[in-house]
Symmetry: C2
Subunit: 248 residues, 2 copies
Protein backbone atom coordinates (compact mmCIF):
# COMPACT_ATOMS: atom_id res chain seq x y z
CA UNK A 1 0.00 0.00 0.00
CA UNK A 2 1.70 3.23 -1.07
CA UNK A 3 2.21 5.84 1.63
CA UNK A 4 1.22 8.64 -0.75
CA UNK A 5 -1.97 9.34 -2.66
CA UNK A 6 0.00 9.71 -5.88
CA UNK A 7 3.52 9.02 -7.01
CA UNK A 8 4.51 12.65 -7.35
CA UNK A 9 3.91 13.26 -3.67
CA UNK A 10 6.37 10.47 -2.80
CA UNK A 11 9.17 12.41 -4.50
CA UNK A 12 11.21 14.80 -2.40
CA UNK A 13 13.49 17.51 -3.70
CA UNK A 14 16.60 17.94 -1.55
CA UNK A 15 18.57 21.19 -1.88
CA UNK A 16 22.00 21.04 -0.27
CA UNK A 17 23.60 24.20 1.13
CA UNK A 18 21.74 26.62 -1.12
CA UNK A 19 23.31 30.10 -1.06
CA UNK A 20 20.52 32.33 -2.32
CA UNK A 21 17.16 32.26 -0.56
CA UNK A 22 15.50 33.46 -3.77
CA UNK A 23 16.49 30.20 -5.42
CA UNK A 24 14.77 28.25 -2.64
CA UNK A 25 11.54 30.16 -3.23
CA UNK A 26 11.79 29.81 -7.01
CA UNK A 27 12.50 26.08 -6.61
CA UNK A 28 9.39 25.69 -4.45
CA UNK A 29 7.34 27.41 -7.14
CA UNK A 30 8.87 25.21 -9.85
CA UNK A 31 8.03 22.10 -7.81
CA UNK A 32 4.44 23.05 -7.14
CA UNK A 33 3.73 23.93 -10.80
CA UNK A 34 4.49 20.26 -11.48
CA UNK A 35 2.65 18.88 -8.44
CA UNK A 36 5.69 18.14 -6.24
CA UNK A 37 5.33 19.19 -2.61
CA UNK A 38 8.12 17.63 -0.51
CA UNK A 39 11.03 20.05 -0.13
CA UNK A 40 14.00 19.31 2.14
CA UNK A 41 16.68 21.94 2.76
CA UNK A 42 20.06 20.76 4.00
CA UNK A 43 21.87 23.58 5.86
CA UNK A 44 20.58 26.46 3.70
CA UNK A 45 22.76 29.55 4.04
CA UNK A 46 19.92 31.99 4.70
CA UNK A 47 16.52 30.59 5.46
CA UNK A 48 13.75 31.50 6.19
CA UNK A 49 14.10 34.70 4.18
CA UNK A 50 11.74 37.25 2.67
CA UNK A 51 13.18 36.67 -0.80
CA UNK A 52 12.37 32.96 -0.64
CA UNK A 53 8.79 33.78 0.30
CA UNK A 54 8.49 36.40 -2.46
CA UNK A 55 9.71 34.08 -5.21
CA UNK A 56 7.62 31.11 -4.07
CA UNK A 57 4.46 33.09 -5.01
CA UNK A 58 1.61 30.59 -5.11
CA UNK A 59 3.75 27.78 -3.69
CA UNK A 60 3.85 29.20 -0.15
CA UNK A 61 2.54 25.89 1.21
CA UNK A 62 5.54 23.99 -0.19
CA UNK A 63 7.85 26.44 1.54
CA UNK A 64 5.87 26.34 4.78
CA UNK A 65 6.11 22.55 4.87
CA UNK A 66 9.78 22.41 3.89
CA UNK A 67 11.89 20.36 6.26
CA UNK A 68 15.31 21.59 7.39
CA UNK A 69 17.95 18.86 7.70
CA UNK A 70 21.41 19.15 9.18
CA UNK A 71 22.96 16.46 6.97
CA UNK A 72 22.25 14.92 3.58
CA UNK A 73 22.05 11.57 5.33
CA UNK A 74 19.20 12.91 7.47
CA UNK A 75 17.49 14.41 4.41
CA UNK A 76 17.51 11.02 2.66
CA UNK A 77 16.11 9.04 5.61
CA UNK A 78 13.40 6.65 4.43
CA UNK A 79 14.27 6.97 0.74
CA UNK A 80 14.57 3.84 -1.37
CA UNK A 81 16.27 5.74 -4.18
CA UNK A 82 18.37 8.90 -4.20
CA UNK A 83 19.25 10.54 -7.49
CA UNK A 84 21.87 13.28 -7.60
CA UNK A 85 21.56 15.93 -10.30
CA UNK A 86 24.90 16.99 -11.71
CA UNK A 87 25.85 19.06 -14.73
CA UNK A 88 29.42 17.94 -15.14
CA UNK A 89 31.34 14.70 -15.49
CA UNK A 90 32.35 13.39 -12.09
CA UNK A 91 34.39 10.65 -10.60
CA UNK A 92 31.08 8.89 -9.97
CA UNK A 93 31.33 5.16 -10.43
CA UNK A 94 27.59 4.45 -10.51
CA UNK A 95 24.96 4.79 -13.20
CA UNK A 96 24.65 8.06 -15.09
CA UNK A 97 21.29 8.71 -16.75
CA UNK A 98 19.67 11.59 -18.54
CA UNK A 99 17.08 13.35 -16.37
CA UNK A 100 14.39 11.90 -18.65
CA UNK A 101 15.54 8.34 -17.99
CA UNK A 102 16.10 9.03 -14.29
CA UNK A 103 12.54 10.38 -14.00
CA UNK A 104 11.20 7.06 -15.28
CA UNK A 105 13.15 5.15 -12.65
CA UNK A 106 12.17 7.54 -9.88
CA UNK A 107 8.48 7.41 -10.68
CA UNK A 108 8.60 3.63 -11.02
CA UNK A 109 10.18 3.37 -7.58
CA UNK A 110 7.88 6.03 -6.09
CA UNK A 111 4.85 3.82 -6.47
CA UNK A 112 6.08 1.92 -3.42
CA UNK A 113 8.67 4.01 -1.60
CA UNK A 114 9.92 7.54 -1.13
CA UNK A 115 12.53 8.74 -3.59
CA UNK A 116 14.70 11.85 -3.62
CA UNK A 117 16.29 14.13 -6.17
CA UNK A 118 19.32 15.91 -4.72
CA UNK A 119 20.78 19.20 -5.95
CA UNK A 120 23.93 20.89 -4.68
CA UNK A 121 25.03 24.49 -4.35
CA UNK A 122 24.68 27.16 -7.01
CA UNK A 123 28.43 27.52 -7.37
CA UNK A 124 29.72 23.98 -7.45
CA UNK A 125 26.85 21.52 -7.33
CA UNK A 126 27.17 18.35 -5.30
CA UNK A 127 30.50 17.30 -3.79
CA UNK A 128 31.86 13.85 -4.60
CA UNK A 129 31.05 12.76 -1.03
CA UNK A 130 27.43 13.88 -1.52
CA UNK A 131 27.18 12.17 -4.91
CA UNK A 132 28.48 8.98 -3.30
CA UNK A 133 25.32 8.93 -1.17
CA UNK A 134 23.21 8.84 -4.34
CA UNK A 135 22.40 5.66 -6.24
CA UNK A 136 22.17 7.30 -9.64
CA UNK A 137 23.47 10.51 -11.13
CA UNK A 138 21.07 12.32 -13.45
CA UNK A 139 22.11 15.01 -15.85
CA UNK A 140 20.22 17.53 -17.96
CA UNK A 141 21.57 17.69 -21.52
CA UNK A 142 22.89 21.22 -22.04
CA UNK A 143 25.06 23.46 -24.17
CA UNK A 144 28.61 22.24 -23.54
CA UNK A 145 29.80 25.85 -23.81
CA UNK A 146 27.54 26.93 -20.96
CA UNK A 147 25.77 24.10 -19.14
CA UNK A 148 25.08 26.21 -16.06
CA UNK A 149 21.33 26.14 -15.42
CA UNK A 150 20.06 28.28 -12.59
CA UNK A 151 19.22 26.07 -9.58
CA UNK A 152 15.47 26.70 -9.73
CA UNK A 153 15.52 26.26 -13.52
CA UNK A 154 17.11 22.84 -13.06
CA UNK A 155 14.42 21.98 -10.51
CA UNK A 156 11.82 23.12 -13.06
CA UNK A 157 13.14 20.83 -15.80
CA UNK A 158 13.51 17.89 -13.41
CA UNK A 159 10.03 18.38 -11.92
CA UNK A 160 8.59 18.65 -15.43
CA UNK A 161 10.19 15.36 -16.44
CA UNK A 162 8.92 13.74 -13.24
CA UNK A 163 5.39 14.94 -13.94
CA UNK A 164 5.49 13.59 -17.49
CA UNK A 165 7.02 10.31 -16.31
CA UNK A 166 4.10 10.00 -13.90
CA UNK A 167 1.76 10.18 -16.87
CA UNK A 168 0.44 13.61 -15.94
CA UNK A 169 0.86 14.90 -19.44
CA UNK A 170 -2.62 16.12 -20.16
CA UNK A 171 -2.81 19.35 -22.05
CA UNK A 172 -5.89 21.35 -22.80
CA UNK A 173 -7.45 20.77 -26.18
CA UNK A 174 -8.44 23.29 -28.79
CA UNK A 175 -12.18 23.61 -29.33
CA UNK A 176 -13.41 20.87 -31.63
CA UNK A 177 -15.04 21.74 -34.93
CA UNK A 178 -16.96 19.41 -37.17
CA UNK A 179 -14.93 18.21 -40.13
CA UNK A 180 -16.56 18.72 -43.50
CA UNK A 181 -17.75 15.54 -45.21
CA UNK A 182 -16.55 14.29 -48.55
CA UNK A 183 -19.71 15.38 -50.38
CA UNK A 184 -19.66 18.86 -48.80
CA UNK A 185 -16.09 19.30 -49.99
CA UNK A 186 -16.82 17.99 -53.49
CA UNK A 187 -19.77 20.37 -53.73
CA UNK A 188 -17.37 23.18 -52.82
CA UNK A 189 -14.94 22.23 -55.59
CA UNK A 190 -17.80 21.98 -58.09
CA UNK A 191 -19.01 25.42 -57.05
CA UNK A 192 -15.48 26.84 -57.23
CA UNK A 193 -15.05 25.38 -60.66
CA UNK A 194 -18.27 27.02 -61.92
CA UNK A 195 -17.41 30.38 -60.41
CA UNK A 196 -13.82 30.39 -61.68
CA UNK A 197 -15.10 29.50 -65.13
CA UNK A 198 -17.64 32.35 -64.99
CA UNK A 199 -14.79 34.66 -63.94
CA UNK A 200 -12.89 33.41 -66.99
CA UNK A 201 -10.02 32.54 -64.62
CA UNK A 202 -10.49 28.87 -65.45
CA UNK A 203 -10.91 27.60 -68.99
CA UNK A 204 -12.61 24.18 -68.77
CA UNK A 205 -11.11 23.28 -72.15
CA UNK A 206 -7.59 23.96 -70.79
CA UNK A 207 -7.90 23.65 -67.03
CA UNK A 208 -4.15 23.23 -66.45
CA UNK A 209 -3.25 22.51 -62.81
CA UNK A 210 -5.55 25.03 -61.12
CA UNK A 211 -8.11 22.68 -59.57
CA UNK A 212 -5.59 20.06 -58.46
CA UNK A 213 -3.59 22.81 -56.73
CA UNK A 214 -6.68 24.04 -54.93
CA UNK A 215 -7.53 20.49 -53.90
CA UNK A 216 -4.01 20.07 -52.59
CA UNK A 217 -4.20 23.26 -50.55
CA UNK A 218 -7.60 22.61 -49.01
CA UNK A 219 -6.89 18.94 -48.57
CA UNK A 220 -3.90 19.79 -46.43
CA UNK A 221 -6.00 22.18 -44.37
CA UNK A 222 -8.58 19.45 -43.57
CA UNK A 223 -11.60 21.67 -44.08
CA UNK A 224 -14.24 22.05 -41.39
CA UNK A 225 -17.92 22.32 -42.22
CA UNK A 226 -18.10 25.97 -41.20
CA UNK A 227 -15.10 26.80 -43.37
CA UNK A 228 -16.77 25.15 -46.37
CA UNK A 229 -19.82 27.29 -45.69
CA UNK A 230 -17.69 30.45 -45.52
CA UNK A 231 -15.92 29.60 -48.78
CA UNK A 232 -19.21 28.83 -50.53
CA UNK A 233 -20.60 32.11 -49.18
CA UNK A 234 -17.69 33.95 -50.78
CA UNK A 235 -18.21 32.09 -54.06
CA UNK A 236 -21.93 32.90 -54.02
CA UNK A 237 -21.15 36.58 -53.50
CA UNK A 238 -18.72 36.52 -56.42
CA UNK A 239 -21.40 34.77 -58.51
CA UNK A 240 -23.75 37.71 -57.87
CA UNK A 241 -21.20 40.18 -59.18
CA UNK A 242 -20.45 38.07 -62.23
CA UNK A 243 -24.20 37.75 -62.98
CA UNK A 244 -24.74 41.50 -62.56
CA UNK A 245 -21.81 42.20 -64.86
CA UNK A 246 -23.19 39.80 -67.46
CA UNK A 247 -26.66 41.41 -67.32
CA UNK A 248 -25.34 44.93 -67.60
Amino acid sequence: MPAHPDRLSAIRIVLVATSHPGNIGAAARAMWTMGLRQLVLVTPERYPHAEATALATGAAAVLANARIATTLDDALAGCALAVGLSARPRAFAGRVLSMREAAQEMVGCASERDVALVLGTEMSGLSNAELAQCHIVATIPANPEYPSLNLAAAVQVAAYELRLAAGEDRVWAAPQFRQATHDEIEALYAHASRTLTALRFLNPAQPKRLLPRLRRLFGRAKLEREEVNILRGILARVDQFVDRDRNR
Copy 2:
Protein backbone atom coordinates in the same frame (compact mmCIF):
# COMPACT_ATOMS: atom_id res chain seq x y z
CA MET B 1 20.70 25.73 -47.96
CA PRO B 2 19.86 26.53 -44.35
CA ALA B 3 20.65 30.04 -43.16
CA HIS B 4 21.95 28.76 -39.83
CA PRO B 5 24.80 26.43 -38.92
CA ASP B 6 22.49 24.32 -36.77
CA ARG B 7 18.78 24.06 -36.22
CA LEU B 8 18.83 25.50 -32.71
CA SER B 9 20.24 28.78 -33.98
CA ALA B 10 17.29 29.12 -36.38
CA ILE B 11 14.90 29.24 -33.40
CA ARG B 12 14.05 32.61 -31.92
CA ILE B 13 12.46 33.20 -28.55
CA VAL B 14 10.05 36.14 -28.60
CA LEU B 15 9.08 37.72 -25.27
CA VAL B 16 6.10 40.06 -25.52
CA ALA B 17 5.76 43.01 -23.12
CA THR B 18 7.80 41.46 -20.33
CA SER B 19 7.36 43.37 -17.04
CA HIS B 20 10.40 42.34 -15.02
CA PRO B 21 13.87 42.88 -16.49
CA GLY B 22 15.17 40.08 -14.25
CA ASN B 23 13.00 37.64 -16.17
CA ILE B 24 14.54 38.78 -19.45
CA GLY B 25 18.03 38.08 -18.09
CA ALA B 26 17.01 34.72 -16.63
CA ALA B 27 15.34 33.80 -19.93
CA ALA B 28 18.56 34.62 -21.82
CA ARG B 29 20.48 32.37 -19.45
CA ALA B 30 17.92 29.57 -19.84
CA MET B 31 18.17 29.88 -23.64
CA TRP B 32 21.93 29.77 -23.76
CA THR B 33 22.20 26.74 -21.46
CA MET B 34 20.30 24.93 -24.21
CA GLY B 35 22.18 26.49 -27.12
CA LEU B 36 19.50 28.99 -28.24
CA ARG B 37 20.80 32.45 -29.04
CA GLN B 38 18.12 34.47 -30.87
CA LEU B 39 16.15 36.61 -28.41
CA VAL B 40 13.55 39.15 -29.55
CA LEU B 41 11.90 41.52 -27.07
CA VAL B 42 8.60 43.11 -28.08
CA THR B 43 8.05 46.38 -26.15
CA PRO B 44 9.72 45.27 -22.89
CA GLU B 45 8.62 47.43 -19.96
CA ARG B 46 12.12 48.16 -18.65
CA TYR B 47 15.07 47.28 -20.83
CA PRO B 48 18.07 47.44 -20.87
CA HIS B 49 18.28 47.10 -17.10
CA ALA B 50 20.98 46.11 -14.59
CA GLU B 51 18.81 43.29 -13.25
CA ALA B 52 18.54 41.70 -16.70
CA THR B 53 22.31 41.81 -17.06
CA ALA B 54 22.85 40.36 -13.57
CA LEU B 55 20.54 37.39 -14.10
CA ALA B 56 21.84 36.59 -17.58
CA THR B 57 25.21 35.65 -15.97
CA GLY B 58 27.16 33.73 -18.64
CA ALA B 59 24.59 34.48 -21.35
CA ALA B 60 25.54 38.14 -21.73
CA ALA B 61 26.07 37.64 -25.46
CA VAL B 62 22.45 36.54 -25.94
CA LEU B 63 21.29 39.69 -24.19
CA ALA B 64 23.71 41.90 -26.11
CA ASN B 65 22.41 40.52 -29.41
CA ALA B 66 18.74 40.69 -28.41
CA ARG B 67 16.58 42.53 -30.92
CA ILE B 68 13.94 45.00 -29.75
CA ALA B 69 10.72 44.95 -31.79
CA THR B 70 7.82 47.36 -31.62
CA THR B 71 5.18 44.82 -32.66
CA LEU B 72 4.78 41.05 -32.59
CA ASP B 73 4.34 41.20 -36.34
CA ASP B 74 7.79 42.75 -36.67
CA ALA B 75 9.26 40.17 -34.25
CA LEU B 76 7.94 37.33 -36.41
CA ALA B 77 9.23 38.70 -39.73
CA GLY B 78 10.87 35.94 -41.74
CA CYS B 79 9.49 33.10 -39.63
CA ALA B 80 7.92 30.11 -41.34
CA LEU B 81 6.35 28.91 -38.09
CA ALA B 82 5.29 30.76 -34.95
CA VAL B 83 4.33 28.79 -31.85
CA GLY B 84 2.64 30.56 -28.94
CA LEU B 85 3.22 29.17 -25.46
CA SER B 86 0.12 29.34 -23.31
CA ALA B 87 -0.71 27.83 -19.94
CA ARG B 88 -4.47 28.09 -20.07
CA PRO B 89 -7.26 27.01 -22.37
CA ARG B 90 -8.00 29.71 -24.91
CA ALA B 91 -10.41 30.48 -27.64
CA PHE B 92 -7.70 29.41 -30.06
CA ALA B 93 -9.07 27.60 -33.05
CA GLY B 94 -5.76 26.17 -34.29
CA ARG B 95 -3.70 23.19 -33.23
CA VAL B 96 -2.81 22.77 -29.59
CA LEU B 97 0.23 20.60 -28.86
CA SER B 98 2.27 19.72 -25.82
CA MET B 99 5.58 21.55 -25.73
CA ARG B 100 7.29 18.22 -26.44
CA GLU B 101 5.29 17.71 -29.64
CA ALA B 102 5.64 21.36 -30.63
CA ALA B 103 9.43 21.13 -30.21
CA GLN B 104 9.50 18.31 -32.77
CA GLU B 105 7.58 20.41 -35.29
CA MET B 106 9.69 23.49 -34.64
CA VAL B 107 12.98 21.67 -35.06
CA GLY B 108 11.71 19.91 -38.17
CA CYS B 109 10.78 23.25 -39.68
CA ALA B 110 13.99 24.94 -38.45
CA SER B 111 16.13 22.86 -40.77
CA GLU B 112 14.97 25.13 -43.60
CA ARG B 113 13.48 28.28 -42.14
CA ASP B 114 13.41 30.44 -39.03
CA VAL B 115 10.85 29.53 -36.42
CA ALA B 116 9.69 31.37 -33.30
CA LEU B 117 8.40 30.52 -29.86
CA VAL B 118 6.32 33.37 -28.44
CA LEU B 119 5.68 34.03 -24.74
CA GLY B 120 3.42 36.72 -23.29
CA THR B 121 3.50 38.77 -20.11
CA GLU B 122 4.13 37.39 -16.63
CA MET B 123 0.64 38.32 -15.48
CA SER B 124 -1.60 37.22 -18.29
CA GLY B 125 0.41 35.50 -21.00
CA LEU B 126 -0.46 36.11 -24.64
CA SER B 127 -3.61 37.96 -25.65
CA ASN B 128 -6.04 36.30 -28.03
CA ALA B 129 -4.94 38.73 -30.76
CA GLU B 130 -1.31 37.71 -30.21
CA LEU B 131 -2.19 34.01 -30.22
CA ALA B 132 -4.03 34.50 -33.48
CA GLN B 133 -0.69 35.42 -35.06
CA CYS B 134 0.68 32.01 -34.07
CA HIS B 135 0.18 28.85 -36.11
CA ILE B 136 0.28 26.48 -33.17
CA VAL B 137 -0.28 26.84 -29.46
CA ALA B 138 2.07 24.85 -27.26
CA THR B 139 1.43 24.13 -23.63
CA ILE B 140 3.56 22.76 -20.80
CA PRO B 141 1.69 20.10 -18.79
CA ALA B 142 1.37 21.43 -15.24
CA ASN B 143 -0.39 21.09 -11.92
CA PRO B 144 -3.97 22.19 -12.61
CA GLU B 145 -4.09 23.73 -9.12
CA TYR B 146 -1.14 25.97 -9.91
CA PRO B 147 0.02 25.92 -13.54
CA SER B 148 1.84 29.23 -13.22
CA LEU B 149 5.46 28.71 -14.25
CA ASN B 150 7.79 31.66 -13.92
CA LEU B 151 8.46 33.15 -17.38
CA ALA B 152 12.15 32.18 -17.44
CA ALA B 153 11.30 28.73 -16.06
CA ALA B 154 8.89 28.23 -18.97
CA VAL B 155 11.63 29.33 -21.38
CA GLN B 156 13.96 26.81 -19.68
CA VAL B 157 11.55 23.89 -20.18
CA ALA B 158 10.78 24.91 -23.77
CA ALA B 159 14.46 25.38 -24.65
CA TYR B 160 15.27 22.03 -23.05
CA GLU B 161 12.63 20.29 -25.19
CA LEU B 162 13.93 22.06 -28.29
CA ARG B 163 17.48 20.91 -27.55
CA LEU B 164 16.34 17.33 -27.09
CA ALA B 165 14.18 17.49 -30.21
CA ALA B 166 17.28 18.62 -32.12
CA GLY B 167 18.99 15.43 -31.03
CA GLU B 168 21.40 17.23 -28.72
CA ASP B 169 20.74 14.81 -25.89
CA ARG B 170 24.25 13.68 -25.16
CA VAL B 171 25.04 13.28 -21.49
CA TRP B 172 28.40 12.55 -19.98
CA ALA B 173 29.09 8.92 -19.22
CA ALA B 174 30.28 7.36 -16.04
CA PRO B 175 33.82 5.97 -16.16
CA GLN B 176 33.82 2.53 -17.71
CA PHE B 177 35.05 -0.47 -15.73
CA ARG B 178 35.85 -3.88 -17.08
CA GLN B 179 33.12 -6.42 -16.39
CA ALA B 180 34.26 -9.57 -14.65
CA THR B 181 34.24 -12.69 -16.81
CA HIS B 182 32.22 -15.79 -16.11
CA ASP B 183 35.21 -17.78 -14.84
CA GLU B 184 36.38 -14.96 -12.56
CA ILE B 185 32.92 -14.84 -11.01
CA GLU B 186 32.70 -18.61 -10.63
CA ALA B 187 36.11 -18.62 -8.97
CA LEU B 188 34.77 -16.00 -6.55
CA TYR B 189 31.76 -18.16 -5.65
CA ALA B 190 34.00 -21.19 -5.18
CA HIS B 191 36.27 -19.16 -2.92
CA ALA B 192 33.31 -17.80 -0.97
CA SER B 193 31.93 -21.28 -0.56
CA ARG B 194 35.22 -22.53 0.91
CA THR B 195 35.58 -19.58 3.24
CA LEU B 196 31.99 -19.71 4.46
CA THR B 197 32.38 -23.42 5.09
CA ALA B 198 35.59 -22.80 7.06
CA LEU B 199 33.72 -20.15 9.03
CA ARG B 200 31.05 -22.79 9.69
CA PHE B 201 28.51 -20.30 8.38
CA LEU B 202 27.79 -22.69 5.50
CA ASN B 203 27.26 -26.41 6.00
CA PRO B 204 27.95 -28.12 2.64
CA ALA B 205 25.72 -31.03 3.73
CA GLN B 206 22.83 -28.63 4.31
CA PRO B 207 23.62 -25.58 2.19
CA LYS B 208 20.04 -24.24 2.21
CA ARG B 209 19.59 -21.15 0.03
CA LEU B 210 22.73 -19.25 1.00
CA LEU B 211 24.77 -19.57 -2.20
CA PRO B 212 21.83 -19.04 -4.56
CA ARG B 213 20.96 -15.85 -2.64
CA LEU B 214 24.52 -14.59 -2.96
CA ARG B 215 24.51 -15.44 -6.66
CA ARG B 216 21.27 -13.52 -7.04
CA LEU B 217 22.67 -10.47 -5.26
CA PHE B 218 25.96 -10.32 -7.13
CA GLY B 219 24.34 -11.30 -10.40
CA ARG B 220 22.08 -8.26 -10.13
CA ALA B 221 25.08 -6.04 -9.40
CA LYS B 222 26.89 -7.18 -12.58
CA LEU B 223 30.30 -7.50 -10.96
CA GLU B 224 33.32 -5.73 -12.34
CA ARG B 225 36.76 -7.34 -12.36
CA GLU B 226 38.11 -4.97 -9.73
CA GLU B 227 35.15 -5.70 -7.46
CA VAL B 228 35.78 -9.43 -7.77
CA ASN B 229 39.39 -8.76 -6.78
CA ILE B 230 38.27 -6.73 -3.76
CA LEU B 231 35.85 -9.43 -2.63
CA ARG B 232 38.45 -12.15 -3.06
CA GLY B 233 40.90 -9.99 -1.08
CA ILE B 234 38.40 -9.82 1.76
CA LEU B 235 37.85 -13.57 1.61
CA ALA B 236 41.62 -14.20 1.63
CA ARG B 237 41.98 -12.01 4.70
CA VAL B 238 39.16 -13.92 6.45
CA ASP B 239 40.87 -17.17 5.45
CA GLN B 240 44.04 -16.04 7.29
CA PHE B 241 42.09 -15.45 10.50
CA VAL B 242 40.29 -18.76 10.22
CA ASP B 243 43.62 -20.55 9.65
CA ARG B 244 45.24 -18.79 12.62
CA ASP B 245 42.26 -19.67 14.81
CA ARG B 246 42.46 -23.29 13.70
CA ASN B 247 46.23 -23.46 14.43
CA ARG B 248 45.92 -21.88 17.87
